[in-house]
């Protein structure tokens, strides 16, 4: 009994002597196998990544081989790993327990900006599904005005064949003017352009009061690092804080962490459902 009390006393007074739980990072492999410390012959980049995480999280980091994204999803749900790389297919079956936290931005690429889809408020369209077979307006041919909105719509089930026609206007204001003149039925643009056109110049201005947003959201991520939803928020934010600056602070570690998409610029934070495979239009 005395020894037990003594041990408890030591644990209470010397928290540093109690080993903190290691951080278990899933890595892609042919077969899933138990977590273990990285071996000395591991690639230099992977060692740099583990070293960085160990320093910054203050705990040991273990390598947890998993069989693909599905293996990572299963291991996350089973509590066998703390973070793993998922895709939409593997995320779909674990979305009630797992969330995305980090995506990669391509080199010189765009962020996963919010997209707004709007129609005339006086019309009958209430959802994205209602505009099937109608005329779509883009605000310009720039990638952030056309390619990214197009992908976001396609992710929701509204691919190119969904609309009867696609027209590229000369600006957001031009696109909205065409919509109002019924030269188009639905306009899609990034949220930045929508805000610029619709925020007004005076306190009572509501320049887009005659329009209705029928869908807004982001293009789906192809892949994302995911964690369990019950991971403490501070640890989640700490991991995000380390990863978003990794390309600046530890380029070798970044190269290893982003090896699944080599032509990448940096990690960005993401919303929980960035990988969600669900569609507005079945």
């Amino acid at each position: 009994m005395r020894r037990l009390l003594a041990l408890i006393g030591l644990m209470v007074f010397v928290p540093g002597l109690v080993a903190a739980a290691p951080f278990r990072l899933a890595s892609q492999a042919n077969v899933t196998s138990p977590c273990r410390p990285l071996t000395p012959d591991a690639p230099a980049g992977q060692r740099a990544l583990h070293k960085l995480l160990a320093q910054r999280l203050g705990v040991d980091v273990l390598d947890c081989p998993v069989a693909g994204a599905r293996g990572a999803a299963d291991a996350l749900v089973a509590g066998q790993v703390d973070m793993g790389l998922l895709d939409p297919a593997s995320y779909g079956s674990v979305s009630d327990k797992v969330r995305a936290i980090l995506t990669l931005r391509p080199k010189n690429g765009l962020i996963r900006s919010q997209i707004v889809t709007a129609v005339r408020a006086s019309g009958s369209f209430k959802s994205l599904g209602d505009v099937r077979g109608h005329r779509l307006l883009f605000v310009s041919a720039a990638p952030y005005d056309r390619d990214q909105p197009r992908k976001a719509l396609a992710d929701q089930g509204a691919g190119p064949s969904f609309f009867s026609s696609e027209t590229v206007a000369s600006s957001a204001d031009d696109a909205l003017a065409r919509l109002r003149k019924q030269d188009g039925d639905v306009v899609v643009m990034n949220a930045d352009a929508w805000q610029r056109s619709c925020r007004g110049a005076k306190p009572q201005d509501q320049p887009c009061g005659d329009l209705r947003i029928i869908w807004n959201g982001r293009p789906r991520a192809e892949r994302a690092f995911a964690v369990r939803q019950d991971m403490p928020a501070q640890l989640r934010y700490r991991i995000i804080g380390i990863f978003v600056a990794m390309h600046l602070e530890a380029p070798d570690a970044f190269k290893a962490a982003s090896a699944f998409a080599p032509a990448s610029e940096n990690f960005d934070a993401s919303e929980a459902g960035a990988l969600s495979p669900s569609r507005t239009i079945p």
Partner: protein
């Protein structure tokens, strides 16, 4: 029982020693997080942004967040440079000033990246719409208002670009003065104290026009009418404002703040817009290199002014 007491005492001593040991930053950050943002309490957007950051950072760090309000650029810079605050929002010129004072004790960690990929805003030379001024050439011999000595878009960039265009900002105008802020610069122009002023503009580009910045924000509050002003020169892009931290704070807390702020646009997009950030944008990680040009411009401007003062003071 004696053995137990001895063991407990030993544990206590070891614990006190371990506080100086291998994990110096793990548990030190238990007090309040101190943050500073420049802006007037008269501006509802500034108050809203401060309140939102205070609430959000308090929730995610688990620490009470104390806000140090500063009505001018220098208040924030000095609070950060002296270590009175842990984190602050600063424009490039302000960061360059803090960098000159304390070097790598401060570091920019995040700035805004917009939907089009850009991380900058612009500086606009504005005049009253009913004035005869159509270009900076028309302003020779007239008065010019700067925002603040530490303002990037309202001082540093304009002066560098004027010099690049062959205009000596020290002699070209009949009078120059500091308004103290972007809002004050616009009000001073409206009230006829200056003939022109440089202010920050964003939410667009020179080709499509702008929708945010002092004039537009004030117009939405009903303080001015945007149509009463004309833009005659646009400069930039200028590296956008950043979140700057004291690097001598626990790394764990810096990582948490950076991660939480980076996640804000994605986890709470409505709040992101509500606090004045461009819709569809995000916080992206940066370091000192992001402001290399601003730091160089500031150093060059100081050197030019010193040279001018020396020439004035030297015997002929």
């Amino acid at each position: 029982m004696r053995q137990l007491i001895v063991l407990l005492c030993t544990g206590g001593i070891l614990a006190s020693l371990s506080a100086c040991g291998a994990k110096p930053d793990a548990d030190r950050a238990t007090g309040e997080l101190r943050m500073s943002m420049q802006g007037s309490n008269d501006d509802p957007a500034v108050v809203k942004r401060r309140d939102a950051y205070q609430k959000y950072l308090g929730e995610v760090t688990g620490r009470p967040v104390k806000l140090y309000e500063a009505s001018d650029y220098n208040g924030v810079i000095q609070a950060l440079a002296s270590g009175q605050v842990d984190v602050a929002t600063l424009a490039g010129g302000g960061y360059a000033n803090a960098d000159a004072q304390v070097g790598n004790k401060v570091a920019p960690i995040l700035t805004t990246r917009r939907a089009d990929g850009g991380t900058g805003y612009y500086s606009a030379l504005i005049v009253k719409a009913d004035s005869p001024f159509r270009s900076i050439k028309d302003l020779k011999g007239h008065s010019l208002g700067y925002v603040d000595f530490n303002s990037t878009s309202g001082y540093l960039y304009p002066r560098a670009k004027m010099r690049a265009a062959g205009i000596d900002p020290e002699t070209y105008f009949s009078k120059t003065a500091f308004a103290g802020g972007h809002t004050q610069a616009v009000m001073s122009l409206a009230n006829g104290q200056f003939d022109a002023t440089f202010v920050q503009v964003s939410g667009g580009d020179p080709e499509h026009g702008f929708t945010t910045g002092a004039v537009y924000t004030m117009a939405r509050r009903g303080l001015v009418d945007a149509k009463d002003f004309r833009t005659i020169w646009v400069l930039g892009p200028v590296p956008d404002t950043s979140i700057v931290v004291r690097t001598d704070r626990p790394q764990s807390q810096i990582d948490i703040v950076r991660g939480a702020m980076a996640a804000l646009a994605y986890d709470q997009p409505d709040l992101w817009v509500d606090i004045g950030q461009p819709a569809g944008s995000e916080y992206t990680a940066i370091d000192r290199h992001h402001y290399a040009e601003v730091i160089a411009l500031r150093n060059a401007d100081i050197a030019q002014r010193r040279q001018g003062q020396n020439e004035k003071g030297s015997p002929k």
